[in-house]
């Protein structure tokens, strides 16, 4: 069952044309745990993340909320409430860094409260000196930090990261990893798609691999509880 600390997904299926990209995928995400999702190009990593963010409709999905079967509209609402998806190349809205951070803050706050939140986020991501810079002109690493700061302002239960350090230099990668560690410390469950697990040595608790539509568990840590009774679940452990 999905609780505040655990998010269970079952029977996740998705096909494109005649190709079954995700075939009865089932897994659980735990608060404060980082789950690496690897796979070849086109294996379905991004599709899986986008479905979990409520951005793409699957053929089927089950999220047990203790309310019986839910239709996609309800599931989508739940996913969008809990999860936040970060693109491989983050999109910056036309405007300053401050404008981009402000976008992530709820409309109910006063102007003063909003500014306070923005200041904290700028501090958190070390972006203070860029607060008035046009966000579209930032470097890849800076955009990634703005994107993480926006996510930090939303305080999602689940962070879905698509190749967060690809095309970043070592310095930017190091800073991005630092921010991801902070999310982890705050208890955010992270599902991180990447080709290269070696980029995240200290961050990863569980390694999953997508292969021909099946989700394969690479190691044997029990931090990540799978529905191992499911017939389509395979483990290499």
């Amino acid at each position: 069952m999905t609780t505040a600390d655990q998010f269970n997904v079952q029977c996740l299926k998705k096909h494109f044309a005649k190709r079954q990209v995700l075939d009865e995928v089932a897994f659980s995400l735990q608060a404060g745990q980082t789950h690496l999702l690897s796979g070849d190009n086109g294996a379905g990593k991004t599709t899986l993340l986008r479905i979990l963010a409520g951005l793409e409709k699957p053929d089927s999905i089950q999220i047990d909320l203790g309310k019986g079967p839910l239709n996609w509209r309800h599931v989508k609402k739940t996913l969008q409430h809990h999860a936040l998806y970060l693109h491989q190349h983050p999109y910056m809205f036309d405007g300053t860094v401050t404008y981009n951070l402000d976008y992530a803050i709820g409309a109910k706050l006063t102007k003063r409260e909003r500014q306070l939140q923005i200041d904290k986020a700028l501090e958190w991501a070390d972006l203070r000196q860029l607060s008035h810079a046009p966000a579209k002109t930032l470097s890849g690493g800076e955009k990634q930090r703005v994107s993480l700061a926006r996510a930090w302002l939303k305080r999602p239960s689940i962070l879905l990261l698509d190749e967060p350090t690809s095309n970043l230099d070592q310095e930017s990668r190091h800073r991005t990893l630092g921010l991801l560690e902070a999310f982890k410390s705050d208890g955010t469950a992270m599902l991180l798609a990447s080709h290269d697990p070696m980029h995240f040595p200290s961050l990863i608790d569980q390694h999953l691999r997508l292969d021909q539509g099946k989700l394969i568990r690479i190691d044997d840590q029990k931090l990540f509880e799978f529905d191992q009774t499911h017939p389509n679940f395979r483990s290499t452990a």
Binding site: R50, A53, G54, L55, Q80, A83, L84, Y85, H87, H89, P90, Y91, F93, D94, Y103, A104, G106, P134, K136, T137, R150, K154
Partner: protein, 244 residues
């Protein structure tokens, strides 16, 4: 029209320069009848754009962001409507609004409202086509980022419109430029009634047919200045944008 001013019959001996100077004199002397015609044009076309834009841009958004059966057909129909002559639009609405027509009871024929309806029909496909292109060119990640950051669909839609504002502004200006300069629908639906439905294009047609080229040129200059101003405004506006 403009009986208070000396009539300037253009004959073959008069030079274009003389006529143009006379037109400028008419324009800048603040002649009330001339400026009333200009005001009617702007009022009718302005209302038409204001009414047509929200639904047209919503249709453009749906065409750009959603896949559904018949989408391609809708795009094709809209593209076809782009090339329908204004006079055909005018004729269609004339038949609908005429006394014997299905909407005859509305008694709208030869009113500014009828002209607005005609101009809406002309502006709508332009707004949809150009709006669709502008929104389709907008990075999809903008919509997804807005939604994943918790924006409601309405807020995300406004965000996308903001991101695509240069293209959308071009659509609005192109549509406005088309309808303020069209003569066919306005003539048929408005009837070219002085002080009421006579706008710039219908006045140009009338004055030229009477040999009053100075008035025609004066009003034509207004359209030229308008076209230049709209384009200059668009260029200035677009120049402030940052590349994605």
């Amino acid at each position: 029209m403009l009986e208070s001013l000396p009539r300037r019959n253009i004959n073959q001996m008069e030079s274009l320069t003389t006529t143009t100077l006379a037109a400028l004199e008419l324009l800048f002397s603040g002649n009330p009848e001339l400026w009333e015609i200009i005001a009617i044009s702007f009022r009718v076309s302005g209302v038409a754009i204001l009414v047509a834009s929200p639904p047209a841009l919503l249709v453009a958004f749906i065409l750009a962001y959603y896949q559904f059966p018949g989408r391609r057909l809708l795009i094709s129909i809209n593209s076809t409507l782009l090339s329908v002559p204004a006079v055909v639009v005018g004729l269609t609405l004339f038949i609908l609004l005429s006394r014997q027509g299905p909407l005859g009871e509305w008694k709208l024929l030869f009113t500014q409202t009828a002209m607005v309806l005609g101009q809406i029909a002309l502006a709508f496909p332009i707004l949809v086509a150009m709006g669709h292109s502008a929104l389709q060119a907008c990075d999809r990640r903008a919509w997804e980022t807005a939604r994943t950051l918790g924006a409601t669909p309405i807020r995300a839609l406004i965000t996308i419109m903001r991101e695509a504002r240069f293209g959308l502004m071009a659509a609005l200006l192109a549509a406005f430029g088309r309808i303020i300069a069209e003569v066919g629908a306005s003539m048929m639906l408005g009837g070219n009634i002085l002080h009421y439905t006579r706008n710039i294009p219908t006045a140009i047609a009338l004055e030229s047919s009477k040999g009053e080229f100075a008035q025609g040129i004066a009003l034509g200059l207004v359209l030229l200045i308008l076209a230049f101003t709209l384009n200059a405004f668009l260029q200035h506006f677009q120049g402030k944008g940052q590349p994605a």
